[in-house]
Every structure is written in C-alpha cells, then in structure tokens.
C-alpha cells in the first residue's frame, strides 16, 4: 500500500487535502459553496476544449477556471451586497461552461473515457513528474491565502467594517475566487472535479460547526480533510471502489458529527451568541 506509484498517490492526496481544507474553509465562510462546485466543474469543460484543440489540458483547465472565477466575481457581487445576485450569476456561469463543454465533447466525439477521468479523477496513477507541479501550486495557494488572511477574514465576518476600513469586499471576492480557480485547475486532473468539491465543503463545514474561532477552525478543516483523504485512499485501495465515493460519504459523516457536537454543546449550555444575519 505504500510502495511505488502508491507513494505518489499518498503525497499528492495529502497536498490536495491541505489545499482543499484551506480554500474550502474560506469558501464555506464566505458563502461561496456554489462557486466551489461551479469552478471545478466548469474547468472540466475547459479540459474538453483543450483536448479538442490538441493543446495541453492544463491550459484549458486554467483558462476556464480563472475565466469562470472572474466572471462570477465581477458580475456576482454588487457594491456592498456580497450575497446579491451571486447565486444566479454562478448558476449561469456554470451552465455556460458546461454547455460549451457539451459542444466540445460532441465535436471531438471520442472523449467519454477522459470525461469520466476528469469528473472522478485518476488518483491511483500519478507519475513522479505530476507531483512537483502540484506541490508548487499547493505552496502558491497556501501563501496566497496566508498573505491575505486578515482581509479575507474581515470581509467574510464583518463586511461593513471592512468597507469602512477601505477593504473592498468585491476585490476580496475576486482574489479568493482566483485562488480557488488556481487550486482547482491543478487538482482537477488528479482528483477529479466532483471529489475536489466534496473535499472542500465537507471538512470545512464540519470544522465550522465545531468551533467559531477562525484559526482553530482553519486548522481543524485541514486536519479533517487530511483524515478524510487518508481513510478514503486506504478503503479505496482495499475495496477497489472509487475514491470519490469514500470522500463524499466521509465528508457528510464528519459534517453530521460536527452538527451533533454543536447540538451537544447547545444543550450543555455553552452556546455562543450567533452572528447577526
């Protein structure tokens, strides 16, 4: 289980879990869950376009992911109103990218196998050469989030205060979505669009329901993502069932555990005041 190609799998999955745990924490905090679903899925359509043109799939992934992020960020958040028409624009951006994907796939006509791989990932066949770019990208994403940690927190938790202090919510949105797009464009070919989404939302949501302290929640989100991935790889290796299944189910189980923990805390009278709507 820990030899040869499998070693690459463990390393890559660990990096991906760290990225997903961090990016996912802010996605949940900022109410960008839908974008976390739309950007990886849209990126997958870009890969179809790239393979049609005969260029490197990564270019297609990057162009669609970043294009989608910019579109959602620019049209979605109006001045001040973070939630605005965000979900409508996200939905329309997603269907546009998927519609283009349908066109690319139907024109190229021999894509079904690769479609499956890009949606559900190929984590058990990673070569040495694929590990390094993912590691580099992981470092870039972690640094990008670390550098902007305070403005990202401020615009998530207290958007009005952030605006008053001259921190633009809209710019923070754009910045965050582009980081998410970068992260997904590298991880999608490895773990798949669907798995990336599950890995971003499940652990982060679980962490958020356990604690309200940002630093602790962020660390917990990464930790849960790591545990999720490690358990899933081991189970998938043993049973031969797809990795995505275990990750999806584990995410939901951790979320339910977190909710149970919070309910327990509430009944024991340690309830924290809820943030204003």
């Amino acid at each position: 289980m820990f030899t040869g190609l499998m070693l690459n799998t463990w390393i890559t999955a660990t990096i991906v879990a760290v990225i997903a745990g961090m990016v996912g924490f802010f996605a949940v905090l900022r109410g960008q869950t839908f974008a976390a679903h739309a950007i990886p899925n849209g990126a997958f359509a870009g890969a179809a376009g790239a393979s049609l043109l005969g260029i490197n799939v990564l270019w297609g992934l990057a162009v669609f992911a970043i294009g989608g992020a910019l579109g959602i960020g620019a049209l979605g958040s109006e001045r001040g109103g973070r939630k605005g028409r965000n979900d409508v624009v996200t939905a329309l951006g997603l269907v546009l990218m998927l519609g283009l994907g349908a066109l690319f796939i139907s024109v190229s006509s021999e894509y079904a196998e690769e479609t499956y791989a890009l949606l559900f990932g190929e984590v058990f066949g990673i070569s040495q050469g694929e590990v390094l770019p993912i590691l580099l990208l992981g470092i870039v994403s972690v640094v990008a989030i670390g550098v902007a940690f305070r403005p990202l927190m401020l615009t998530s938790a207290l958007p009005e205060v952030a605006e008053a202090r001259g921190v633009s919510t809209r710019r923070a949105d754009l910045y965050f979505l582009v980081v998410m797009a970068l992260a997904t464009s590298m991880t999608v070919p490895v773990v798949g669009a669907l798995l990336m989404f599950s890995l971003m939302i499940g652990p982060a949501a679980a962490a958020r329901s356990v604690t309200a302290r940002p630093g602790v929640a962020l660390a917990l989100s990464v930790a849960i993502a790591l545990v999720t991935v490690w358990i899933s790889i081991a189970l998938s290796y043993r049973t031969n069932w797809p990795l995505g299944f275990f990750v999806g189910v584990a995410g939901a189980v951790f979320f339910l555990l977190g909710q149970g923990f919070r309910a327990l805390g509430t009944t024991l009278g340690t309830r924290r005041p809820r943030p204003a709507q």
Binding site: T33, A112, E113, Y116, F197, I201, F255
Partner: protein, 297 residues
C-alpha cells in the same frame, strides 16, 4: 426560409417530442424558477438535478425504471437539505453542498459498479448532458402529470411563498408556518427539476430553471408578469435551440449535430445579459429579488 426550417423538421417524430417536452419543461421550470431566484436557492435547484441523476444511475443499476430513481432521489435530497438546512442563507448553501457532495460520491460508486456490468462510461456523459432527441414518447404523460403537480403546489402557495421569501419574520408574525412552506416549495422544486433532468439533462435543467427567471425578474414589474415572461422566454429559447441544433447538422464539422444544450444555454445567457444593456442602472427600479437580499436589520 428552408435554410432556417429544414424541410421535414416538423414531420420528424423525435423533433416533435423534443419540442413538446422542451415546452413542458421550460414552462414548469420558468414558473418555479422565479421563486428559486427570489429565494436565492439556485444552488439547491442545480444540486437537485445532480442528485436526481445519481438516483437515475442507481435505479439503472438495480434495474428499476430510471424515472422513479430520479424522482425518489430528488425528493429525498430536498428533504435532507431542508432538514439539516440552517435558516440563514449561507448555512443553507453549506447543507446543500454537503448533500450534493455525498450524492456525487454515490454517483461515482454507481457508475463504477455499472461499468463493471456493462462497460459503458458513456453513461456518465448521457446522465450529465442528456439528450432531448432520444426521449421515448411514453414518458411524456408522466412528465406532464408531474409538471402539473409541481405547478399546482406553487400556484396554491404563491402568496405565502412570496411573503416568506421577502420577509420571513413578517410571515412568521402573521402565523405562516415558514418551515413547512419552505419544505413544500423545495419538494415541488425537486419534482420539477428531476423531471427536467431526466428529460433534458442536468445542465439544461439548471439553465432553464435560473436563466429565464433571472431575466424576467430584471424586466417584469410584478411576480405574475415575471412568471409569464419567464415561461415564455424559456419556451422560446428551447424551441430556437432545438431548431438550431437540427440545422447544425450541416455546419462544420460535417455529419455532426451540435448539442441542443449549447444553443439553449447560449440563448438564455444572451437574454440575461441583454437586460443589463437595455436599462441605465440609475433609473432602474429595484427588482423584487434584489429587495429580497436586504437584511432585516
């Protein structure tokens, strides 16, 4: 004229079925979508389509009629989303995301188990993108029936739904059971979305649910007009899309029709963007769904 309407277009059986089914789905989605947009539940609307397709592949696996798989998964997911759903919008999105993540995992498993038996990876593609030209005519009555059920639920609840969508506090003060209304609405949405997904695919289902409604809400002055405009826009986009897809058989590359979903999505999106161009922002009255975003504080 023959360049636009290919001779024999309206005599073809699949095309007739496609036009009929497209119209049914567009009207149902258009009307129900108005509330989806007002309530900010686009993510739920899209997720239900994805979850329903999981049910479809599960039903396929155990040899049941796919239609029931779609419907059962859609309604179960709606109940789960509302069940764990927190009242605040962001909490609701997270609940939706968790349900969607688990369902996508299950989809991966079903497709994997399915390929063990049949070795068709094409299934994932068909489930996601669907094909409006391969609907068997005997599913049409079921489509119409469930479309009518979904519309009836929304018609009965219209006033209450609008009230709870715009101010849930006011609705609660007036004695409206906000939670039950939300649940009923989500069930209607699940029925309509699963039907759309089984008929035309998950992508097109989301496009028809959100696109025409968002467009109509930017233009129309009242919810009633918005519903009518949304249904009409949806039907127009679908029909034009079908005709263009039929014509595209003669476009490059030869011998390959372009997918209907591409045309419909593009038309829907162009319609939405046109509403930005037409009116100067300064004079535009706030449309209802923007009002819905005001915090009650």
């Amino acid at each position: 004229m023959h360049y636009v309407f290919e001779p024999g277009l309206f005599a073809s059986g699949p095309v007739r079925t496609a036009l009929l089914v497209g119209a049914i789905v567009a009207v149902t989605s258009g009307v129900i979508g108005v509330f989806t947009v007002i309530r900010g539940q686009s993510f739920a609307g899209h997720s239900l389509a994805d979850v329903a397709t999981t049910g479809g592949s599960g039903a396929f696996l155990v040899g049941l009629n796919q239609f029931w798989g779609f419907l059962a998964a859609g309604i179960a997911a709606a109940a789960l989303m509302e069940g764990i759903g927190v009242q605040r919008r962001r909490g609701r999105d997270v609940a939706t995301g968790v349900v969607l993540g688990a369902a996508l995992g299950a989809a991966a498993l079903f497709l994997y188990l399915g390929t063990l038996h049949t070795s068709t990876t094409g299934a994932s593609f068909t489930v996601l993108f669907g094909s409006i030209f391969v609907i068997s005519p005997d599913t049409v009555p079921a489509l119409i029936a469930s479309g009518i059920i979904a519309l009836a639920v929304v018609a009965v609840l219209t006033r209450v739904l609008l009230l709870t969508s715009l101010s849930s506090d006011l609705a609660r003060a007036k004695g409206v059971p906000v939670r039950a209304v939300g649940m009923a609405y989500l069930a209607a949405l699940a029925v309509s979305v699963s039907l759309a997904a089984v008929a035309i695919g998950a992508v097109l289902s989301t496009a028809l649910l959100i696109g025409p409604s968002a467009t109509a809400l930017r233009v129309a002055k009242s919810p009633g007009w918005a519903m009518a405009a949304s249904a009409l826009t949806g039907v127009a986009a679908t029909w034009i899309g079908i005709v263009l897809a039929y014509d595209s058989f003669y476009w490059p590359p030869h011998g390959h029709g372009w997918p209907v979903s591409f045309f419909v999505v593009t038309l829907v999106l162009v319609g939405y963007l046109l509403t930005y161009v037409k009116r100067p922002r300064r004079l535009a009255p706030r449309s209802p769904h923007e009002g819905a975003e005001c915090s009650p504080a």
